[in-house]
Symmetry: C2
Subunit: 420 residues, 2 copies
């Protein structure tokens, strides 16, 4: 296209768009302000309910670790639940991403209670899993119920799903801005489209506000002293980012690998988490520790200031890949925080940056590489650890995003542009 | 497209991309790490030089306000400089954006010294202008000189220009992450493409690091107490964002309006800033104050804690639109900070949020609406004012971005997707 043609094409587009009146924008804003305030309030409440149940399940398990011996039975429960009642929502996060790209049918509301029960059971019996999958799926399926109520078009439905995902993510981690950007960033690899930016921001901030009003408290991470940036530190951050990206790559591949192994050799789906449960329970018994099951928050907190075994991150990759590959529920993100924070902790032996900073960089950067969301994770680092971590975390997240390749934990993510 | 076809199309794209080896990514990273470290170091140094000259010019003018009477002569200097030596770089920021969309020829290096001299002269004689145009143009033109040196392809040249813009913005405002995102966000309205994300981050962080190493100090803004978020506060932030967006719209239209008036009635370009200079000098004399010329940093700082006249923002719009429309140099952003901060200050009379918070929200949000960069400006608020401002600033920036319409201060910006 010649520059002239190019410019005239966009000039006419510009004219057309500026001819639309400001009134249309005001109507659009009012509509989404109402819808997303409701969505945010409901999703924030659901997240509070979920996190309270999850805390109860985790505390009960920690007090009665023998329950892990029953993990295979818990696995059957989760597997049968989805096999007999939830086949059409089994795809979870990927189903939501697919519906954003190709809206075909409303996501059934039952996705929300199923994933909530499945996740709480997974953690109660000692699987190694996360919680953002639950939050995102509750957010998406709750939001999608408004499609009928407000008679929304397909285009509006996409926006609504993105806002629901943002709300779920924001309220489960207490990071409203990272949540808002996560919803916009996750469905396209390498691109953000802004058509849902206002609904996302409103839903995410509302969800976090309501969850806070219910009394939800998020874990605080103390990162300690942050050195000022210099040329060497940029190099160290790049080097750390490389390691985090490789961990993200290995994690995504391992999860897919175990999932395909379970699928190939066990044809009756409810049996897969039973076998997975046996493997994880045996591994806990062999290792003699419960530190690699559940969310692993205590170890994540420790990784910011205590020297940990350098293989922690590798064991957590295996525990989580088996748990999720077998069909347990919850998601990948908190295990990714664990993997990143403990890997950062281990890297402090060779990279001359403070251990708390490296743990914080790993916390967000392995997730950035696995989910392909470098901007949301950079903002998350600022929201969780403070402004000063931003530059270090930003470099680590972007490098991890680059090096982790064009696959990731969400196979329905569409490649919007090549990474390099 | 059927879902099956859709999915198979992307599956094959995915296979193709994952077949590329991690080695290619490593080579890509090494190349851009070297180039952008150099670009960042040079641009950071140029920004330091520029800001030191600007501080000198501003201080001299404040000590000798009679110099403003010579603004018409300064106008002739700037106008003649560009008319006789800089016609091909006169388009400034828009030239850079055009070259990112349609690379045709290397941006001449002389863009850097010309815009530096033009901006310092504008501020020395008392025009009302900014400084980001200068930083961005120095960044882009310095970066583009590496195109020949490293024999870069057109695609790489786009990346290099984006990195240069990021570096300039980051170092002139001391906001490295906002700078990195600004470069990625500014050339497409409503879309971020990630192909330049690593180069942008490295160049921006390096530029800010080097500028700091040279001893550059940025203004600190004390925003005071931030209330916790609640449902009413979301509504207030939306309301404030509406006002900021309207101000952004009026500013962009005014600047274009005065530029077209000057062009229509004065055919000899060097005469335009002479007439503009007469108008501004007369207005200063009539108003009896110099607060609306130059960058206006003291008034911006005051707006965070002192009650100011409610018409400050309107006068700054007129002063800046005349100055820039006539052909003076520097850019729009610091005046937009002034307009937003003083408008936020005025809004504190009717919106029950603290004055410092409203000033901070306006500071970034009017700019978000005028430049169509809501994510960069939200991050900027976090970098300048602290994490707690993020949610308030985020809503204000997104609303302002929506309401300001599909035009803005950069007419070469291509519409990537409609705002709503």
């Amino acid at each position: 296209m010649s520059p002239k043609k190019f410019s005239s094409r966009y000039t006419s587009l510009y004219r057309k768009l500026s001819a639309q009146e400001q009134v249309a924008i005001l109507l659009y804003m009012s509509k989404w302000l109402i819808i997303c305030t409701l969505v945010g309030a409901l999703v924030g409440t659901a997240s509070e309910l979920f996190l309270v149940s999850l805390a109860w399940a985790t505390n009960w398990r920690e007090a009665h670790p023998w329950i892990i011996a029953l993990l295979p039975a818990g696995g059957f429960l989760v597997g049968a639940l989805y096999y007999y009642f939830g086949k059409e929502v089994e795809a979870g996060n990927n189903l939501l991403i697919e519906q954003i790209h190709q809206p075909t049918h409303i996501v059934p509301f039952k996705m929300a209670p199923l994933v909530l029960i499945g996740t709480v059971a997974t953690h109660f019996f000692g699987g190694s899993a996360g919680r953002e999958g639950t939050a995102v799926q509750m957010g998406g399926s709750i939001a999608d119920q408004f499609t009928r109520l407000f008679r929304l078009s397909d285009e509006d439905r996409k926006t609504l799903l993105i806002a629901g995902i943002s709300a779920g993510f924001a309220s489960v981690f207490g990071t409203p801005l990272a949540g808002a950007i996560f919803g916009l960033e996750v469905f396209f690899l390498g691109r953000i489209r802004y058509h849902a930016i206002f609904p996302s921001f409103v839903a995410a901030i509302m969800a976090e506000t309501i969850a806070n009003a219910w009394g939800l408290e998020h874990t605080h991470y103390l990162i300690g002293e942050i050195p000022s940036m210099n040329v060497w530190h940029i190099g160290y951050a790049v080097g750390a980012g490389l390691c985090f990206g490789i961990a993200a790559f290995v994690f995504a591949r391992s999860t897919h690998f175990f999932a395909s192994i379970f699928k190939r050799y066990i044809s009756y789906p409810p049996l897969r988490p039973v076998v997975g449960g046996i493997l994880v329970a045996l591994a806990v018994w062999t290792a003699g520790t419960t530190k690699y099951v559940g969310l692993g928050i205590p170890t994540i907190v420790d990784s910011f200031h205590t020297s940990l075994p350098p293989y922690d991150f590798a064991l957590k990759i295996v525990f989580t890949a088996v748990t999720l590959g077998a069909g347990f529920k919850g998601g990948e993100v908190t295990p990714l925080f664990f993997i990143g924070a403990t890997l950062g902790n281990a890297l402090s032996a060779i990279i001359p940056l403070p251990v708390g900073l490296l743990a914080g960089m790993g916390f967000v950067a392995v997730f950035a590489g696995a989910a392909n969301t470098p901007i949301a994770t950079t903002i998350m680092a600022m929201e969780l650890f403070g402004m000063e971590v931003g530059m270090f975390a930003g470099i680590a997240c972007v490098v991890s995003y680059l090096i982790s390749g064009h696959s990731g934990i969400y196979h329905s993510q569409v490649i919007g542009s090549s990474k390099h």
